[in-house]
Protein backbone atom coordinates (compact mmCIF):
# COMPACT_ATOMS: atom_id res chain seq x y z
CA UNK A 1 0.00 0.00 0.00
CA UNK A 2 1.71 3.19 -1.13
CA UNK A 3 1.79 6.39 0.89
CA UNK A 4 -0.91 8.33 -0.87
CA UNK A 5 -3.42 5.50 -1.24
CA UNK A 6 -6.72 6.69 0.16
CA UNK A 7 -8.87 3.65 -0.39
CA UNK A 8 -7.25 0.27 -0.39
CA UNK A 9 -9.22 -2.94 -0.73
CA UNK A 10 -7.16 -6.07 -0.09
CA UNK A 11 -8.37 -9.53 -0.99
CA UNK A 12 -12.05 -8.81 -0.42
CA UNK A 13 -14.12 -11.96 -0.56
CA UNK A 14 -17.90 -11.94 -0.24
CA UNK A 15 -20.35 -14.80 -0.48
CA UNK A 16 -24.13 -14.94 -0.41
CA UNK A 17 -25.10 -17.95 1.61
CA UNK A 18 -28.65 -19.22 1.28
CA UNK A 19 -30.15 -22.48 2.37
CA UNK A 20 -29.60 -24.12 -0.96
CA UNK A 21 -26.50 -22.58 -2.40
CA UNK A 22 -23.51 -20.33 -1.89
CA UNK A 23 -22.95 -17.59 -4.42
CA UNK A 24 -19.30 -16.58 -4.65
CA UNK A 25 -19.98 -12.97 -5.56
CA UNK A 26 -16.60 -11.36 -4.88
CA UNK A 27 -13.38 -13.37 -4.89
CA UNK A 28 -10.24 -11.72 -3.55
CA UNK A 29 -10.66 -8.27 -5.03
CA UNK A 30 -7.82 -5.75 -4.57
CA UNK A 31 -8.25 -2.09 -5.45
CA UNK A 32 -6.20 1.02 -4.74
CA UNK A 33 -7.35 4.56 -5.14
CA UNK A 34 -5.52 7.78 -4.31
CA UNK A 35 -7.09 10.94 -3.07
CA UNK A 36 -8.91 12.80 -5.78
CA UNK A 37 -8.72 10.00 -8.29
CA UNK A 38 -11.50 8.23 -10.09
CA UNK A 39 -11.68 4.54 -10.70
CA UNK A 40 -14.04 2.96 -13.17
CA UNK A 41 -15.37 -0.47 -12.27
CA UNK A 42 -16.73 -2.20 -15.34
CA UNK A 43 -18.05 -5.67 -15.92
CA UNK A 44 -21.07 -7.66 -16.94
CA UNK A 45 -24.22 -7.89 -14.92
CA UNK A 46 -23.78 -10.14 -11.91
CA UNK A 47 -20.02 -9.64 -11.83
CA UNK A 48 -20.16 -8.41 -8.22
CA UNK A 49 -19.75 -4.67 -8.67
CA UNK A 50 -22.61 -3.62 -6.39
CA UNK A 51 -21.49 -6.16 -3.84
CA UNK A 52 -18.03 -4.57 -3.69
CA UNK A 53 -19.49 -1.09 -3.20
CA UNK A 54 -21.85 -2.29 -0.48
CA UNK A 55 -19.06 -4.18 1.26
CA UNK A 56 -16.98 -1.00 1.41
CA UNK A 57 -19.94 0.89 2.89
CA UNK A 58 -20.70 -2.11 5.09
CA UNK A 59 -24.35 -2.18 4.20
CA UNK A 60 -24.52 -5.73 2.93
CA UNK A 61 -27.52 -7.54 4.32
CA UNK A 62 -26.21 -10.32 6.48
CA UNK A 63 -27.52 -12.98 6.11
CA UNK A 64 -27.36 -13.83 3.24
CA UNK A 65 -24.15 -11.87 2.60
CA UNK A 66 -20.98 -12.87 4.43
CA UNK A 67 -17.63 -11.13 4.11
CA UNK A 68 -15.26 -14.10 4.12
CA UNK A 69 -12.00 -12.25 4.09
CA UNK A 70 -10.03 -9.18 3.18
CA UNK A 71 -9.38 -5.73 4.47
CA UNK A 72 -10.70 -2.35 3.43
CA UNK A 73 -8.55 0.61 4.42
CA UNK A 74 -9.81 4.13 4.16
CA UNK A 75 -7.14 6.65 5.04
CA UNK A 76 -5.31 3.84 6.86
CA UNK A 77 -8.31 2.74 8.95
CA UNK A 78 -9.57 -0.79 8.44
CA UNK A 79 -13.28 -0.27 7.89
CA UNK A 80 -14.14 -3.91 8.44
CA UNK A 81 -12.79 -3.69 11.99
CA UNK A 82 -14.45 -0.37 12.82
CA UNK A 83 -17.20 -0.49 15.47
CA UNK A 84 -20.68 0.05 14.04
CA UNK A 85 -21.05 3.41 15.80
CA UNK A 86 -17.99 4.87 14.14
CA UNK A 87 -18.99 3.34 10.85
CA UNK A 88 -22.26 5.30 11.11
CA UNK A 89 -20.25 8.52 11.26
CA UNK A 90 -18.46 7.47 8.09
CA UNK A 91 -21.50 6.53 6.06
CA UNK A 92 -23.20 9.37 4.27
CA UNK A 93 -20.53 11.68 5.55
CA UNK A 94 -17.07 10.52 4.50
CA UNK A 95 -18.19 7.58 2.38
CA UNK A 96 -21.35 7.82 0.42
CA UNK A 97 -23.01 5.72 -2.17
CA UNK A 98 -25.24 6.47 -5.12
CA UNK A 99 -27.67 3.59 -5.48
CA UNK A 100 -28.10 1.76 -8.71
CA UNK A 101 -31.87 1.59 -8.93
CA UNK A 102 -33.53 4.98 -8.42
CA UNK A 103 -37.01 3.43 -8.50
CA UNK A 104 -36.51 1.58 -5.23
CA UNK A 105 -33.81 3.61 -3.49
CA UNK A 106 -36.13 6.29 -2.15
CA UNK A 107 -38.54 5.87 0.74
CA UNK A 108 -42.03 6.11 -0.80
CA UNK A 109 -43.67 7.65 2.27
CA UNK A 110 -41.11 10.37 3.03
CA UNK A 111 -40.97 13.54 0.99
CA UNK A 112 -37.87 13.77 -1.17
CA UNK A 113 -36.56 16.92 0.48
CA UNK A 114 -36.51 15.30 3.89
CA UNK A 115 -34.62 12.36 2.50
CA UNK A 116 -31.83 14.75 1.62
CA UNK A 117 -32.14 16.93 4.72
CA UNK A 118 -31.95 13.87 6.93
CA UNK A 119 -28.37 13.07 6.00
CA UNK A 120 -27.35 16.71 6.42
CA UNK A 121 -28.90 16.86 9.89
CA UNK A 122 -27.27 13.63 10.86
CA UNK A 123 -23.72 14.63 10.05
CA UNK A 124 -23.54 18.40 10.06
CA UNK A 125 -25.46 18.85 13.31
CA UNK A 126 -27.44 21.83 12.09
CA UNK A 127 -30.95 22.96 12.90
CA UNK A 128 -33.89 21.52 11.00
CA UNK A 129 -34.40 24.82 9.21
CA UNK A 130 -30.78 25.03 8.12
CA UNK A 131 -30.81 21.43 6.94
CA UNK A 132 -33.94 22.17 4.93
CA UNK A 133 -32.30 25.15 3.33
CA UNK A 134 -29.24 23.13 2.40
CA UNK A 135 -31.38 20.32 1.05
CA UNK A 136 -33.29 22.81 -1.10
CA UNK A 137 -29.96 24.02 -2.44
CA UNK A 138 -28.94 20.43 -3.19
CA UNK A 139 -32.17 19.93 -5.11
CA UNK A 140 -31.55 23.06 -7.17
CA UNK A 141 -28.02 21.85 -7.80
CA UNK A 142 -29.29 18.69 -9.48
CA UNK A 143 -31.82 20.69 -11.43
CA UNK A 144 -34.96 20.10 -9.40
CA UNK A 145 -36.88 23.23 -8.33
CA UNK A 146 -36.77 23.75 -4.57
CA UNK A 147 -40.57 24.05 -4.49
CA UNK A 148 -40.77 20.32 -5.06
CA UNK A 149 -39.10 19.68 -1.69
CA UNK A 150 -42.33 18.40 -0.15
CA UNK A 151 -43.30 16.01 -2.93
CA UNK A 152 -43.06 12.26 -2.74
CA UNK A 153 -41.03 9.87 -4.91
CA UNK A 154 -44.08 8.61 -6.82
CA UNK A 155 -44.59 12.13 -8.13
CA UNK A 156 -41.12 12.12 -9.69
CA UNK A 157 -39.83 10.60 -12.92
CA UNK A 158 -37.11 7.96 -12.83
CA UNK A 159 -34.45 10.43 -13.86
CA UNK A 160 -35.55 12.91 -11.21
CA UNK A 161 -35.45 10.20 -8.58
CA UNK A 162 -31.95 9.32 -9.61
CA UNK A 163 -30.99 12.96 -9.24
CA UNK A 164 -32.50 13.02 -5.75
CA UNK A 165 -30.43 9.96 -4.90
CA UNK A 166 -27.35 11.74 -6.24
CA UNK A 167 -28.18 14.89 -4.29
CA UNK A 168 -28.51 12.90 -1.06
CA UNK A 169 -25.20 11.15 -1.69
CA UNK A 170 -23.37 14.39 -2.40
CA UNK A 171 -25.06 16.47 0.33
CA UNK A 172 -22.32 16.10 2.89
CA UNK A 173 -19.40 16.34 0.48
CA UNK A 174 -17.97 12.83 0.90
CA UNK A 175 -14.28 11.94 0.68
CA UNK A 176 -15.13 8.69 -1.04
CA UNK A 177 -18.03 8.41 -3.44
CA UNK A 178 -19.20 5.03 -4.63
CA UNK A 179 -21.40 5.69 -7.62
CA UNK A 180 -23.27 2.57 -8.68
CA UNK A 181 -24.39 3.21 -12.24
CA UNK A 182 -25.23 6.80 -11.40
CA UNK A 183 -26.39 7.82 -14.85
CA UNK A 184 -28.31 4.87 -16.25
CA UNK A 185 -31.75 6.45 -15.82
CA UNK A 186 -30.69 9.83 -17.17
CA UNK A 187 -30.79 11.25 -20.66
CA UNK A 188 -27.53 12.43 -22.19
CA UNK A 189 -27.80 16.11 -21.30
CA UNK A 190 -28.69 15.46 -17.67
CA UNK A 191 -26.08 12.73 -17.59
CA UNK A 192 -23.46 15.25 -18.67
CA UNK A 193 -24.67 17.66 -15.98
CA UNK A 194 -24.42 15.00 -13.27
CA UNK A 195 -20.96 13.95 -14.37
CA UNK A 196 -20.00 17.59 -14.39
CA UNK A 197 -21.28 17.94 -10.83
CA UNK A 198 -19.22 14.99 -9.74
CA UNK A 199 -16.23 16.53 -11.47
CA UNK A 200 -16.72 19.75 -9.55
CA UNK A 201 -17.09 18.01 -6.20
CA UNK A 202 -13.97 16.20 -7.11
CA UNK A 203 -12.01 19.40 -7.66
CA UNK A 204 -13.53 21.07 -4.61
CA UNK A 205 -13.10 18.34 -2.04
CA UNK A 206 -10.59 16.00 -3.69
CA UNK A 207 -13.23 13.32 -3.52
CA UNK A 208 -12.04 9.90 -4.56
CA UNK A 209 -14.66 8.25 -6.70
CA UNK A 210 -15.46 4.74 -7.77
CA UNK A 211 -17.80 4.74 -10.73
CA UNK A 212 -19.56 1.51 -11.50
CA UNK A 213 -20.88 1.50 -15.01
CA UNK A 214 -21.52 -0.37 -18.22
CA UNK A 215 -20.95 2.77 -20.20
CA UNK A 216 -17.43 2.94 -21.61
CA UNK A 217 -18.11 6.53 -22.63
CA UNK A 218 -18.61 7.49 -18.98
CA UNK A 219 -15.43 5.64 -18.09
CA UNK A 220 -13.47 7.41 -20.80
CA UNK A 221 -14.75 10.80 -19.68
CA UNK A 222 -14.49 10.44 -15.93
CA UNK A 223 -11.91 7.89 -14.89
CA UNK A 224 -8.20 7.89 -14.24
CA UNK A 225 -8.06 4.15 -13.71
CA UNK A 226 -10.14 1.22 -14.86
CA UNK A 227 -10.72 -2.12 -13.21
CA UNK A 228 -12.43 -4.78 -15.30
CA UNK A 229 -14.24 -7.29 -13.17
CA UNK A 230 -15.38 -10.73 -14.22
CA UNK A 231 -17.14 -13.27 -11.98
CA UNK A 232 -16.08 -11.50 -8.82
CA UNK A 233 -12.46 -11.13 -9.82
CA UNK A 234 -10.52 -8.25 -11.22
CA UNK A 235 -9.17 -9.44 -14.54
CA UNK A 236 -7.51 -6.27 -15.69
CA UNK A 237 -6.44 -3.12 -13.93
CA UNK A 238 -4.61 -0.08 -15.14
CA UNK A 239 -4.62 3.55 -16.14
CA UNK A 240 -7.41 4.58 -18.49
CA UNK A 241 -5.20 4.93 -21.58
CA UNK A 242 -3.42 1.65 -20.98
CA UNK A 243 -6.60 -0.36 -20.64
CA UNK A 244 -8.36 1.41 -23.50
CA UNK A 245 -5.46 1.35 -25.93
CA UNK A 246 -3.66 -1.83 -24.94
CA UNK A 247 -6.34 -4.07 -23.52
CA UNK A 248 -4.54 -7.20 -22.40
CA UNK A 249 -7.25 -9.56 -21.19
CA UNK A 250 -9.38 -11.35 -23.80
CA UNK A 251 -12.47 -10.37 -21.80
CA UNK A 252 -11.60 -6.68 -21.93
CA UNK A 253 -10.91 -6.97 -25.64
CA UNK A 254 -14.30 -8.63 -25.98
CA UNK A 255 -15.98 -5.82 -24.03
CA UNK A 256 -14.61 -3.20 -26.38
CA UNK A 257 -15.57 -5.23 -29.43
CA UNK A 258 -19.12 -5.32 -28.11
CA UNK A 259 -19.62 -1.55 -28.09
CA UNK A 260 -20.51 0.39 -31.19
CA UNK A 261 -17.76 2.64 -32.41
CA UNK A 262 -18.26 6.03 -33.96
CA UNK A 263 -15.07 5.91 -36.01
CA UNK A 264 -14.75 2.45 -37.39
CA UNK A 265 -17.33 1.13 -39.74
CA UNK A 266 -17.93 -2.24 -38.19
CA UNK A 267 -20.65 -4.14 -39.97
CA UNK A 268 -21.68 -6.06 -36.89
CA UNK A 269 -20.91 -5.86 -33.21
CA UNK A 270 -19.14 -8.85 -31.83
CA UNK A 271 -20.77 -10.10 -28.67
CA UNK A 272 -18.70 -12.24 -26.32
CA UNK A 273 -19.86 -15.81 -26.89
CA UNK A 274 -21.27 -17.82 -24.01
CA UNK A 275 -22.61 -16.83 -20.60
CA UNK A 276 -20.88 -15.70 -17.41
CA UNK A 277 -20.11 -18.70 -15.21
CA UNK A 278 -22.55 -19.91 -12.58
CA UNK A 279 -21.43 -18.06 -9.43
CA UNK A 280 -22.38 -21.04 -7.27
CA UNK A 281 -19.90 -23.30 -9.09
CA UNK A 282 -17.04 -21.23 -10.44
CA UNK A 283 -14.29 -22.85 -12.56
CA UNK A 284 -11.09 -23.57 -10.66
CA UNK A 285 -8.73 -21.90 -13.07
CA UNK A 286 -9.33 -18.83 -15.17
CA UNK A 287 -13.02 -18.01 -14.79
CA UNK A 288 -13.22 -16.65 -18.29
CA UNK A 289 -11.56 -19.71 -19.90
CA UNK A 290 -14.82 -21.45 -20.95
CA UNK A 291 -15.64 -18.45 -23.15
CA UNK A 292 -12.12 -17.62 -24.23
CA UNK A 293 -10.82 -18.07 -27.77
CA UNK A 294 -7.27 -18.56 -26.51
CA UNK A 295 -8.10 -21.17 -23.91
CA UNK A 296 -5.66 -24.09 -23.63
CA UNK A 297 -4.98 -26.87 -21.12
CA UNK A 298 -3.14 -24.64 -18.63
CA UNK A 299 -5.97 -22.12 -18.20
CA UNK A 300 -8.48 -24.33 -16.43
CA UNK A 301 -5.95 -26.09 -14.20
CA UNK A 302 -5.24 -23.68 -11.36
CA UNK A 303 -6.07 -20.11 -10.30
CA UNK A 304 -4.43 -17.49 -12.46
CA UNK A 305 -2.46 -14.74 -10.72
CA UNK A 306 -2.42 -11.07 -11.72
CA UNK A 307 0.64 -10.38 -13.80
CA UNK A 308 2.18 -7.08 -14.80
CA UNK A 309 1.86 -6.27 -18.47
CA UNK A 310 3.06 -2.69 -18.30
CA UNK A 311 3.81 0.00 -15.70
CA UNK A 312 0.81 0.00 -13.35
CA UNK A 313 -1.09 -2.24 -15.73
CA UNK A 314 -1.94 -5.75 -14.57
CA UNK A 315 -3.91 -8.55 -16.10
CA UNK A 316 -5.10 -11.98 -15.03
CA UNK A 317 -4.21 -14.05 -18.08
CA UNK A 318 -1.61 -16.66 -18.86
CA UNK A 319 -1.12 -15.51 -22.40
Amino acid sequence: MSQDTFLSVRGLTVEYVTKYETVQAVNGVCLDLSKGQTLGLVGETGAGKTTIARAVTRILQSPPAAVRGGEIFLDGVDLLKLPEREMCHMRGNRISMIFQDPMTALNPVMCVGNQIAEVIRKHDHVSAAAARQQAEMSLELVGIPAQRYGEYPHQFSGGMKQRVVIAAALACGPDLLLADEPTTALDVTIQAQMLDMMHRLHDLKETSTVIITHDMGVVAEMCDYVAVIYAGEIVEYGALEDVFDHAAHPYTVGLFAAIPSMWEDVARLTPIPGQPPDPTALPVGCKFSPRCAYMDGECGARPVEMKTVGPGHTCRCLR
Binding site: T57, I59, A105, L106, V109, M110, E118
Partner: protein, 314 residues
Amino acid sequence: MIRYVFRRLALMIPIIIGVTVLVFTIIWFTPGDAAEVLAGNAPREQVEELRRLMGLDRPYIVQLGDYLYNVFIRHDFGKALVNKTSISADIVMRFPKSLIFAVFGILISVFAGIPLGVYAALHQNKTGDSLATAFSLLFVSTPGFWLALMLVLLFAYRLGWLPPYGMGGVEYWIMPVLANCFHGVAIITRQTRSSMLEVIRSDFVVMARSKGLSEGEVIVRHALPNALIPIIAVAGMNFGGMLGGGLIIEKVFSIPGIGNYLVTAVGQRDFTAVMGGVIITSLFFSLVMLAADLGMAFVDPRVKEQYSTARRRK
Protein backbone atom coordinates in the same frame (compact mmCIF):
# COMPACT_ATOMS: atom_id res chain seq x y z
CA MET B 1 -59.63 14.79 1.64
CA ILE B 2 -62.38 16.55 3.63
CA ARG B 3 -64.78 15.86 0.77
CA TYR B 4 -63.73 12.24 0.89
CA VAL B 5 -64.57 12.05 4.59
CA PHE B 6 -68.00 13.53 3.94
CA ARG B 7 -68.61 11.11 1.12
CA ARG B 8 -67.70 8.22 3.34
CA LEU B 9 -69.96 9.52 6.10
CA ALA B 10 -72.81 9.84 3.63
CA LEU B 11 -72.14 6.34 2.38
CA MET B 12 -72.64 5.07 5.92
CA ILE B 13 -76.38 5.88 5.74
CA PRO B 14 -77.25 3.21 3.15
CA ILE B 15 -74.86 0.79 4.85
CA ILE B 16 -76.57 1.16 8.21
CA ILE B 17 -80.02 0.89 6.62
CA GLY B 18 -78.85 -2.23 4.79
CA VAL B 19 -77.57 -3.75 8.02
CA THR B 20 -80.86 -2.89 9.72
CA VAL B 21 -82.98 -4.56 7.03
CA LEU B 22 -80.73 -7.61 6.97
CA VAL B 23 -80.70 -8.15 10.71
CA PHE B 24 -84.43 -7.46 10.95
CA THR B 25 -85.09 -10.08 8.29
CA ILE B 26 -82.92 -12.67 9.97
CA ILE B 27 -84.70 -12.16 13.28
CA TRP B 28 -88.09 -12.24 11.61
CA PHE B 29 -87.36 -15.64 10.09
CA THR B 30 -85.98 -17.05 13.35
CA PRO B 31 -88.53 -19.30 15.06
CA GLY B 32 -90.08 -17.95 18.25
CA ASP B 33 -90.79 -14.35 19.23
CA ALA B 34 -90.91 -12.03 22.21
CA ALA B 35 -94.59 -12.79 22.84
CA GLU B 36 -93.83 -16.46 23.52
CA VAL B 37 -90.99 -15.50 25.83
CA LEU B 38 -93.20 -13.07 27.76
CA ALA B 39 -96.17 -15.39 27.98
CA GLY B 40 -94.16 -18.28 29.27
CA ASN B 41 -96.39 -21.38 29.49
CA ALA B 42 -99.64 -19.47 28.98
CA PRO B 43 -102.27 -20.98 26.68
CA ARG B 44 -102.17 -20.41 22.96
CA GLU B 45 -104.94 -17.78 22.77
CA GLN B 46 -103.18 -15.65 25.35
CA VAL B 47 -99.95 -15.73 23.34
CA GLU B 48 -101.89 -14.75 20.22
CA GLU B 49 -103.50 -11.88 22.10
CA LEU B 50 -100.13 -10.68 23.34
CA ARG B 51 -98.68 -10.93 19.87
CA ARG B 52 -101.51 -8.77 18.54
CA LEU B 53 -101.03 -6.20 21.29
CA MET B 54 -97.30 -5.97 20.52
CA GLY B 55 -97.97 -5.67 16.81
CA LEU B 56 -96.01 -8.82 16.06
CA ASP B 57 -98.81 -10.34 14.04
CA ARG B 58 -98.61 -7.77 11.28
CA PRO B 59 -97.01 -8.73 7.93
CA TYR B 60 -93.23 -8.64 7.62
CA ILE B 61 -93.16 -5.63 5.31
CA VAL B 62 -95.40 -3.52 7.56
CA GLN B 63 -93.35 -4.28 10.65
CA LEU B 64 -90.13 -3.53 8.80
CA GLY B 65 -91.45 -0.26 7.42
CA ASP B 66 -92.76 0.74 10.80
CA TYR B 67 -89.42 -0.01 12.41
CA LEU B 68 -87.38 1.83 9.79
CA TYR B 69 -89.74 4.82 10.06
CA ASN B 70 -89.33 4.97 13.81
CA VAL B 71 -85.56 4.63 13.81
CA PHE B 72 -84.48 6.66 10.81
CA ILE B 73 -87.19 9.32 10.64
CA ARG B 74 -88.28 9.72 14.25
CA HIS B 75 -84.87 8.70 15.66
CA ASP B 76 -86.54 6.49 18.21
CA PHE B 77 -85.28 3.01 18.98
CA GLY B 78 -88.48 2.34 20.90
CA LYS B 79 -88.88 0.23 24.00
CA ALA B 80 -87.57 -3.24 24.62
CA LEU B 81 -90.37 -5.74 23.99
CA VAL B 82 -89.63 -7.93 26.97
CA ASN B 83 -88.17 -5.63 29.62
CA LYS B 84 -90.09 -2.51 28.55
CA THR B 85 -87.04 -0.31 29.10
CA SER B 86 -86.07 2.49 26.72
CA ILE B 87 -83.52 1.08 24.29
CA SER B 88 -81.76 4.41 23.83
CA ALA B 89 -81.25 4.61 27.57
CA ASP B 90 -80.04 1.01 27.69
CA ILE B 91 -77.53 1.69 24.95
CA VAL B 92 -76.29 4.92 26.51
CA MET B 93 -75.69 3.02 29.71
CA ARG B 94 -74.04 -0.03 28.21
CA PHE B 95 -72.27 0.99 25.06
CA PRO B 96 -69.58 3.12 26.77
CA LYS B 97 -68.50 0.08 28.79
CA SER B 98 -67.99 -1.95 25.63
CA LEU B 99 -66.27 0.98 24.00
CA ILE B 100 -63.80 1.44 26.86
CA PHE B 101 -63.25 -2.27 26.79
CA ALA B 102 -62.47 -2.30 23.07
CA VAL B 103 -60.33 0.84 23.24
CA PHE B 104 -58.14 -0.67 25.95
CA GLY B 105 -58.01 -3.90 24.01
CA ILE B 106 -56.85 -2.27 20.80
CA LEU B 107 -54.38 0.02 22.58
CA ILE B 108 -52.73 -2.95 24.27
CA SER B 109 -52.82 -4.92 21.01
CA VAL B 110 -51.11 -2.13 19.11
CA PHE B 111 -48.57 -1.15 21.74
CA ALA B 112 -47.60 -4.73 22.47
CA GLY B 113 -48.08 -6.23 19.01
CA ILE B 114 -46.07 -3.73 16.99
CA PRO B 115 -42.89 -3.86 19.14
CA LEU B 116 -43.13 -7.63 19.37
CA GLY B 117 -43.54 -7.94 15.62
CA VAL B 118 -40.67 -5.54 14.94
CA TYR B 119 -38.47 -7.45 17.36
CA ALA B 120 -39.35 -10.75 15.72
CA ALA B 121 -38.65 -9.38 12.23
CA LEU B 122 -35.28 -7.95 13.26
CA HIS B 123 -34.27 -11.25 14.84
CA GLN B 124 -35.62 -13.45 12.11
CA ASN B 125 -35.09 -17.17 12.75
CA LYS B 126 -33.45 -16.52 16.12
CA THR B 127 -34.86 -17.61 19.46
CA GLY B 128 -36.74 -14.38 20.12
CA ASP B 129 -38.45 -14.60 16.76
CA SER B 130 -39.39 -18.22 17.26
CA LEU B 131 -40.89 -17.40 20.66
CA ALA B 132 -42.86 -14.46 19.30
CA THR B 133 -44.07 -16.48 16.33
CA ALA B 134 -45.07 -19.40 18.52
CA PHE B 135 -46.85 -17.03 20.89
CA SER B 136 -48.82 -15.37 18.11
CA LEU B 137 -49.70 -18.64 16.41
CA LEU B 138 -50.94 -19.99 19.73
CA PHE B 139 -53.12 -17.01 20.54
CA VAL B 140 -54.40 -16.45 17.01
CA SER B 141 -55.89 -19.91 17.22
CA THR B 142 -57.05 -19.79 20.85
CA PRO B 143 -60.75 -18.90 21.24
CA GLY B 144 -61.22 -15.86 23.47
CA PHE B 145 -63.89 -17.39 25.69
CA TRP B 146 -61.70 -20.41 26.49
CA LEU B 147 -58.85 -18.10 27.37
CA ALA B 148 -61.25 -16.09 29.53
CA LEU B 149 -62.32 -19.22 31.41
CA MET B 150 -58.72 -20.30 31.91
CA LEU B 151 -57.82 -16.86 33.25
CA VAL B 152 -60.73 -17.04 35.68
CA LEU B 153 -59.66 -20.49 36.83
CA LEU B 154 -56.09 -19.39 37.39
CA PHE B 155 -56.31 -15.86 38.75
CA ALA B 156 -59.68 -15.95 40.48
CA TYR B 157 -60.04 -19.48 41.82
CA ARG B 158 -56.52 -20.89 42.07
CA LEU B 159 -54.59 -17.78 43.03
CA GLY B 160 -57.45 -15.60 44.25
CA TRP B 161 -55.78 -12.43 43.00
CA LEU B 162 -58.63 -11.04 40.95
CA PRO B 163 -62.43 -11.07 41.20
CA PRO B 164 -63.92 -13.68 38.85
CA TYR B 165 -66.62 -11.45 37.40
CA GLY B 166 -68.64 -8.28 37.84
CA MET B 167 -67.94 -4.58 37.65
CA GLY B 168 -66.01 -2.29 39.92
CA GLY B 169 -62.47 -0.96 40.20
CA VAL B 170 -59.46 -1.64 38.05
CA GLU B 171 -59.13 -5.22 39.29
CA TYR B 172 -62.40 -6.11 37.60
CA TRP B 173 -61.14 -4.92 34.24
CA ILE B 174 -57.82 -6.72 34.13
CA MET B 175 -58.93 -10.20 33.11
CA PRO B 176 -61.61 -9.20 30.58
CA VAL B 177 -59.28 -6.76 28.85
CA LEU B 178 -56.51 -9.36 28.79
CA ALA B 179 -58.80 -12.06 27.45
CA ASN B 180 -60.12 -9.65 24.84
CA CYS B 181 -56.76 -8.38 23.60
CA PHE B 182 -54.60 -11.51 23.41
CA HIS B 183 -56.03 -12.32 20.04
CA GLY B 184 -55.40 -8.77 18.86
CA VAL B 185 -51.83 -8.77 20.15
CA ALA B 186 -51.18 -12.03 18.33
CA ILE B 187 -52.69 -10.87 15.05
CA ILE B 188 -50.87 -7.54 15.10
CA THR B 189 -47.59 -9.24 16.00
CA ARG B 190 -47.94 -11.53 13.00
CA GLN B 191 -48.89 -8.75 10.64
CA THR B 192 -46.09 -6.48 11.87
CA ARG B 193 -43.53 -9.23 11.56
CA SER B 194 -44.44 -10.16 8.02
CA SER B 195 -44.72 -6.63 6.70
CA MET B 196 -41.51 -5.58 8.45
CA LEU B 197 -39.68 -8.56 6.97
CA GLU B 198 -40.75 -7.40 3.56
CA VAL B 199 -39.79 -3.78 4.14
CA ILE B 200 -36.38 -4.24 5.76
CA ARG B 201 -35.14 -5.95 2.61
CA SER B 202 -35.99 -2.95 0.44
CA ASP B 203 -33.40 -0.82 -1.21
CA PHE B 204 -34.55 2.36 0.47
CA VAL B 205 -33.90 0.86 3.90
CA VAL B 206 -30.37 -0.07 2.80
CA MET B 207 -30.02 3.43 1.41
CA ALA B 208 -31.14 4.88 4.74
CA ARG B 209 -28.36 2.87 6.36
CA SER B 210 -25.89 4.15 3.81
CA LYS B 211 -26.71 7.66 5.01
CA GLY B 212 -25.23 6.81 8.37
CA LEU B 213 -28.50 6.66 10.30
CA SER B 214 -28.42 4.43 13.34
CA GLU B 215 -30.33 1.17 13.17
CA GLY B 216 -33.03 2.61 15.42
CA GLU B 217 -33.50 5.63 13.17
CA VAL B 218 -33.64 3.41 10.11
CA ILE B 219 -36.38 1.29 11.66
CA VAL B 220 -38.48 4.07 13.16
CA ARG B 221 -38.17 6.60 10.34
CA HIS B 222 -38.01 4.42 7.26
CA ALA B 223 -39.00 0.81 7.81
CA LEU B 224 -41.92 1.07 10.22
CA PRO B 225 -43.90 3.81 8.42
CA ASN B 226 -43.80 1.66 5.30
CA ALA B 227 -44.82 -1.47 7.15
CA LEU B 228 -47.65 0.35 8.90
CA ILE B 229 -50.29 0.29 6.17
CA PRO B 230 -51.37 -3.34 6.46
CA ILE B 231 -50.98 -3.09 10.23
CA ILE B 232 -53.49 -0.24 10.37
CA ALA B 233 -55.93 -2.23 8.27
CA VAL B 234 -55.65 -5.23 10.56
CA ALA B 235 -55.87 -3.10 13.70
CA GLY B 236 -59.04 -1.45 12.37
CA MET B 237 -60.67 -4.79 11.69
CA ASN B 238 -59.60 -5.97 15.08
CA PHE B 239 -61.00 -2.97 16.88
CA GLY B 240 -64.28 -3.45 15.07
CA GLY B 241 -64.23 -7.08 16.05
CA MET B 242 -63.59 -6.25 19.68
CA LEU B 243 -66.51 -3.80 19.71
CA GLY B 244 -69.01 -6.42 18.74
CA GLY B 245 -67.11 -9.60 19.35
CA GLY B 246 -66.41 -8.95 22.99
CA LEU B 247 -69.89 -10.34 23.60
CA ILE B 248 -68.90 -13.77 24.75
CA ILE B 249 -66.23 -12.39 27.00
CA GLU B 250 -68.70 -9.86 28.39
CA LYS B 251 -70.97 -12.78 29.13
CA VAL B 252 -68.20 -14.75 30.86
CA PHE B 253 -67.29 -11.83 33.10
CA SER B 254 -70.86 -10.51 33.47
CA ILE B 255 -69.92 -7.12 32.13
CA PRO B 256 -73.08 -5.13 31.41
CA GLY B 257 -71.89 -4.00 28.00
CA ILE B 258 -73.55 -4.01 24.63
CA GLY B 259 -72.36 -7.54 23.87
CA ASN B 260 -73.98 -8.96 26.94
CA TYR B 261 -77.12 -6.96 26.16
CA LEU B 262 -77.25 -8.43 22.66
CA VAL B 263 -76.83 -11.99 23.85
CA THR B 264 -79.69 -11.57 26.34
CA ALA B 265 -81.88 -9.84 23.76
CA VAL B 266 -81.34 -12.60 21.20
CA GLY B 267 -82.26 -15.17 23.84
CA GLN B 268 -85.51 -13.31 24.50
CA ARG B 269 -86.24 -12.84 20.78
CA ASP B 270 -86.52 -9.16 21.65
CA PHE B 271 -86.04 -7.79 18.19
CA THR B 272 -86.16 -4.10 19.08
CA ALA B 273 -83.36 -4.55 21.60
CA VAL B 274 -81.29 -6.64 19.20
CA MET B 275 -81.78 -4.12 16.45
CA GLY B 276 -80.80 -1.20 18.65
CA GLY B 277 -77.59 -2.92 19.73
CA VAL B 278 -76.70 -4.01 16.20
CA ILE B 279 -77.34 -0.59 14.69
CA ILE B 280 -75.18 1.22 17.22
CA THR B 281 -72.41 -1.37 16.88
CA SER B 282 -72.38 -1.24 13.10
CA LEU B 283 -72.38 2.55 13.23
CA PHE B 284 -69.23 2.52 15.33
CA PHE B 285 -67.74 -0.24 13.23
CA SER B 286 -68.14 1.93 10.14
CA LEU B 287 -66.60 4.88 11.94
CA VAL B 288 -63.61 2.76 12.97
CA MET B 289 -63.14 1.57 9.39
CA LEU B 290 -63.22 5.15 8.20
CA ALA B 291 -60.66 6.09 10.83
CA ALA B 292 -58.43 3.21 9.69
CA ASP B 293 -58.67 4.34 6.07
CA LEU B 294 -57.81 7.89 7.08
CA GLY B 295 -54.90 6.54 9.13
CA MET B 296 -53.58 4.78 6.04
CA ALA B 297 -53.90 7.93 3.98
CA PHE B 298 -52.03 9.76 6.71
CA VAL B 299 -49.01 7.45 6.60
CA ASP B 300 -48.95 6.84 2.85
CA PRO B 301 -49.09 9.75 0.41
CA ARG B 302 -49.94 7.35 -2.40
CA VAL B 303 -53.14 6.28 -0.67
CA LYS B 304 -53.96 9.90 0.04
CA GLU B 305 -53.53 10.73 -3.61
CA GLN B 306 -55.97 8.00 -4.58
CA TYR B 307 -58.62 9.67 -2.48
CA SER B 308 -58.04 13.06 -4.02
CA THR B 309 -58.06 11.67 -7.58
CA ALA B 310 -61.21 9.71 -6.79
CA ARG B 311 -62.74 13.02 -5.83
CA ARG B 312 -61.52 14.76 -8.97
CA ARG B 313 -62.87 12.06 -11.22
CA LYS B 314 -66.42 12.87 -10.08
